[in-house]
Symmetry: C5
Subunit: 370 residues, 5 copies
């Protein structure tokens, strides 16, 4: 009785991330620009942080009120206001009023199902991106939406939760001697997006490691059934592609269509960013091709194991079938069967049966089936 099937489905008992199937529709008929949070509430209370700087001056405040945040809007310094937690529509609306943001942009910030995109308004540009995190335990990737709003003299960033990939940017601002302090909000927005794209390389590093491991599993322990890994892996790649592909167009548009908000000196950095995005996409495509190759190989391996089982057993059957027939013949009860009387008949039959079996074995070996 078989204890292990060729393909195990147990892995499905593991919770699969199906968030990508969970489309949340806002109520039909709401006017456009209605502020409704679409997505999961991931944090309890939104936190507003402010970093306000120019070449000589630096002011960093944590957990401030929106009024405090709005106060820096008119200053000539660069103000970076980061909001963690976007489920509070009242807060987002207040931002809209203080910073004079178009309701459609606010609606976009609240809807976490967006693909990466850029929308240019008269006074500001809104870039929506996905921040990706890799969980080393479950080997799963989670995505968090981040909206970067570049206005005149300020940058607003809205994240779903606290915890982001911007610590490097914060440090560079703190340090004070870098390029970032000498440049405007456009460079800051670029630096934020650049951090996100850089973080994709870390995800790819992990995903590449995992691909190697799946390959190793397939080679060394084909019976560990890597199908589960393959299935999960493909979903991860699907999610990655969904997050990264549109980014290419977003950054290309930022680079090519000169918005007045983006200085010429920043353009060259955007081109560099574009190259990085292409690199991410290229790597994803290579992973996908390699994955397909592995899947084909796995399928061949499974089918080959089955074939081998069938072959062994059928060869065994086909050797014993003729000699069982011979044994059957001499089990017949005819009165006149001369061989039965022969002194050496029994041993002759044994010899004949052995001969048959050996002949068949030789034939199979010659045919290279054995």
């Amino acid at each position: 009785m078989p204890k292990r099937s060729l393909i195990h489905l147990d892995f499905f008992k593991k919770p699969i991330d199906r968030s990508m199937f969970r489309i949340k529709a806002k109520q039909v008929g709401l006017p456009p620009g209605t502020l409704v949070h679409v997505g999961q509430q991931k944090t309890e209370k939104p936190v507003i942080n402010l970093i306000d700087y120019d070449q000589t001056h630096l002011d960093s405040q944590a957990d401030i009120t929106i009024e405090e945040a709005a106060a820096v809007k008119e200053t000539t310094t660069v103000s970076w206001i980061n909001v963690s937690g976007i489920h509070d529509t009242g807060l987002i609306e207040a931002f809209g009023q203080h910073f004079d943001i178009h309701p459609l942009a606010l609606e976009d910030i609240l809807n976490t199902h967006h693909r990466p995109k850029i929308d240019e308004y008269e006074d500001f540009s809104l870039v929506i991106l996905k921040m990706l995190f890799y969980d080393d335990q479950t080997h799963s990737i989670t995505a968090e939406q981040i909206s970067v709003l570049l206005g005149r003299g300020y940058v607003l960033s809205f994240q779903e939760t606290e915890g982001d990939v911007f610590d490097g940017v914060r440090e560079r601002i703190q340090r004070g001697n870098g390029k970032i302090r000498q440049r405007g909000p456009d460079y800051l927005a670029y630096a934020l997006i650049d951090s996100i794209v850089d973080s994709y390389f870390h995800i790819l590093e992990k995903v590449g490691d995992r691909l190697e491991q799946i390959e190793d599993d397939l080679i060394c322990n084909p019976e560990t059934e890597p199908l589960s890994s393959i299935y999960h892996y493909k979903r991860e790649l699907l999610l990655l592609r969904k997050s990264v592909w549109p980014l290419r167009e977003v950054i290309n548009q930022m680079h090519k269509e000169a918005s007045p908000l983006i200085k010429k000196s920043t353009q060259i950095y955007l081109r560099d960013l574009y190259d990085h995005t292409i690199q991410v996409i290229d790597t994803l495509e290579i992973f996908r091709d390699a994955m397909t190759g592995l899947q084909d190989l796995y399928m061949s391996t499974v089918s080959n194991r089955m074939n081998e089982i069938m072959k062994v057993l059928t060869i065994m059957a086909s050797i014993f079938i003729p000699i069982t027939f011979i044994a059957g013949v001499y089990g017949m009860n005819f009165e006149y069967m001369p061989e039965l009387k022969w002194r050496w008949g029994y041993f002759a039959v044994w010899g004949f049966m052995a001969g048959c079996a050996i002949a068949l074995l030789v034939y199979f070996r010659k045919k290279k089936w054995l």
Copy 2:
């Protein structure tokens, strides 16, 4: 005797929606612009409703005559005339005369086989869309064609039946304090199309739920044969794609090619609408990829179950074949078979046969086939 096959075809007994195969050709040789209703008659008597409004004034009338409807054409207010039921070619022709609509546009309104499209005429723009409804009982999607005709000062909408997704719009007009009352017919047309695209998200929500359920079925009850669900689901996605893909081009054209009928202030809403359409299409593509993945998995599962059956039975056969041969040998009737006389011959043979069987079992287990 097998009571359950691996794949059930019973589901085909359920009526499948084949409306997409039913092409209805109008009579060949009719002059272009001939008004012929192409499609099913879905309602008994066309009903004309009118909502006429501007910032201060609101007039809402149900089931009026065409002459009453035409009377509001020249007013400076925004007039929304909604017609439910388009099989009455006489009525449509009368609309053509009263509102000076090109016969080709009338012909398009009457032909319900259109893909979504926009046609710009000198005095008006005609947008043809599909309204989709999800039936929770049969999990099937039905489509209804809707034509939105944006003229100077009025919007005409033609539906196949009563019952639509515009109640939200009607409410916002009634409420009187919204943006919609301050804006022109272009914004009204946008609001109608926006309602339709919003309703697609509801369909996607249902379709996503169903996808999860099919996945669950596949994992927990592989013997419930989800092939029927998969086949139906693929048809639904085909229908959705057919209705939604061309919409992208339609809305892009509305947004990019500045028609004099559409004010600049409305353009920004159209860009937002375009983003939503892209989101719908993206989700559809993800569903399709996930579906393909599931189908592959299902196929592997079926093939694996078959392999498992074959393996079990063949292993059984290959253990009994050699020992049946041995039993056959000692069933031979040779006069001189020394073993037969041995006191413990019978038990020795039993022992030998058991040994063979155990050796084979060990070999199979070592080969990891067991």
Copy 3:
């Protein structure tokens, strides 16, 4: 002995239309513009018909000479000269001389292997199309090439045989009160092409019916082997695609690139025609997708039936193999086999064998293989 195989190849005995493999090359090295008829001669004697009309006047003549036809060239009326039968190169050459047609255009008219195309010359435009006919008996589609030459004041149409889809146009001209009598030759050319595209919908109607029938066959009588239908159907769709796809580009070019021969008032009709062509192409694509789905389903069904056969028989084998072995054991001729002497030995063995068989059946049912 098997009387019916899973897949029948008998249908191949039916004549398949292989006309699309029959490329007829004209003799290499002939100068371009040499008039050679490429294709089958489908009619005996070419017939020239003339309809000459303007708003007030109508003159219709059948089977006239080319000189009579050429006489109307210079009149201010719209002249439609229809030629049925194009194998007579002399006649086509004479047309070339009387109507001053470029030799390359004449060569194109004579070569029936063209894909739909439009060529604009200085004084005329040549549109080459395929007229399609559906044979209800054989469910096959035949194509006939038609060339529509729009000149100043006249339209020439060249068909391979008599019998076309233009009766509606003729009737509208006869009736005299329609739009067609008030407009020029560009509208006439449009009306002809429109009739052809309209006729495609009829073909699609038939093809859609056939698709439903194939689906029914597959569901209700899977043993009628619909593979033949599927194979034929795919060829038909291939032929349709070949005839219709290029048409899209042809009509788009007529619509977009304003030829002086086409009046602005006719442009709007061309846009409508373009929409219809897109509709035809869309439907073709849906049919193709549905066909692929059906083929997959058919393949699963065949493979499933095979699996079922294998399963039944292998289960039977695996129940009888162990009990046959037991019977073999007690057929051995050892002198000392205590069971053989037992009073109830025979019945005990029967019981044991029945027990084995039942245990196996229970196991198989528990495994859901039965």
Copy 4:
């Protein structure tokens, strides 16, 4: 013992044309424009032929020296110098000096691995094409590179071997009354390219015949294993595609980008040529689709034959297994087996076994497996 396998590999013993795998790299680091012959030397001694003509005059010389050829360069007549054999780099270099040809163009002429392309230089245009020949014996296609260099007042053509498809052009020049004598070198170049494209139709004719024959083989003699034909055929199509696809772009470029070397009167012929190229490509695509269809069908047929074999044999097995068991039962040697003593026991058992067999046959037939 099987005498015929389902798939034969013997055809591989036939020499396959692998020329397309044989990439010949010139020595790395040679300066660009270095003249190295890349390809096989196909002829012994290059032969130069000259045809010099205008409307009134014709001069045709065979096997002349390069100095004689260069002498006609400055005349006002049209000079066509055809070189057969390009392995002599000295000769090509001499041409370069006499006709002032850019070294890169000379390098291209010598490298026979080029895809079809057009390069426009200041004083001349170089078109590189493939001449295709079909070998009726081996059903294989061979390609020969031809370079047509259109200069002011002359056309140079370089072929790998003698023997081409230009005899028709030569004849038309000789005849003297055709269009070709009245026109310039641009028309001559066009006529040469046109001859090549015309010759493709002959190849397609042959290839189409072969496709029909493969189909016939598949239908009437499925055991002749058409896999070899299919494999060869696909390679042929691959080679054809490689030679023809880029041509489309070449001729489009000649047609669209007005080179000063090409007169306006010749443009119309280039458009016609473009149409022919499209026709060739269309036909190739249809052949490819048909080929894929045939391959699918072949695979189904092979798999179906295997299934049929398995089915017949398994049915046989499953009928005999139960009745063999019964025979085994009554072969047991129990002392007390009442049936054995019955007078009609033997015949009753025969009857019972026949009943079992018939019941199974009926069941199988009811299940439509027989």
Copy 5:
């Protein structure tokens, strides 16, 4: 017992080049333009070589310091500074300062994971390419990144290790009479890139040889299991494609977008280079198609061998099953079995069994299964 499976996985024990899965992310949050070496350190100490030349003068120095190298920057001669070894970020930074190179360009030079690309800065252009090497032992391809920086009057080239494909260029410069000495740095840059593309043809030559060999293996020794070769080969092609495809766009951009750094006289060489790149890509595509064809063929062959094994054995089984049944019948112990008493019963049964077997053999042969 089977000694050889149909598919061997031993080849996996060979080290596979997985460098393409090893994505190395630089630390997140580093400012753009931070100089970090990304890749493996392949050499110990960077070596700087200088060749400085014009038409009359030549100066070649090996292993110089950066200050020596920078000294030639302002001269009117062409200076080619080649750096082997890029892991020393200090050195690269020094180059940046001496030659006034943008930090982003320096960052690109240090990151060896780039796809081929061209970045145009104000004062220089940076071209990043892959140099490929073929290892005849392991049949594997290794890639090395090379950055060519074209400035005003100088060319910098940065390689990962010593050893390159530029010896031909060096020789041509040394020789002194070639075109290269008369032209500027743009021609030098072109010559370097041209050497790299030329070297690709050598790789293709080797890869083509290998493809032939795999084909031979498949045909002559199908049991050598070429799956390992196929799998490796596909990875090699994947790597090649990754290195070559983007090159097409790079060279097209150099050719089309006239940079002031590239003289018009060099443009024509770039067009030639573009053609070569297309040729490389075309060949890669053909190899890929041929590979796919081979893989299909291999799969058919494996499946066919399995089918053949099954067929032989099943035929054997189905011949012996009925006659074993007959032997079983006459092994029954009924008291009254008339045949047993017959004198020739035993021989008659032998005859009957032989007849059965022969009849089955004839039937199978008639069915062409044998």
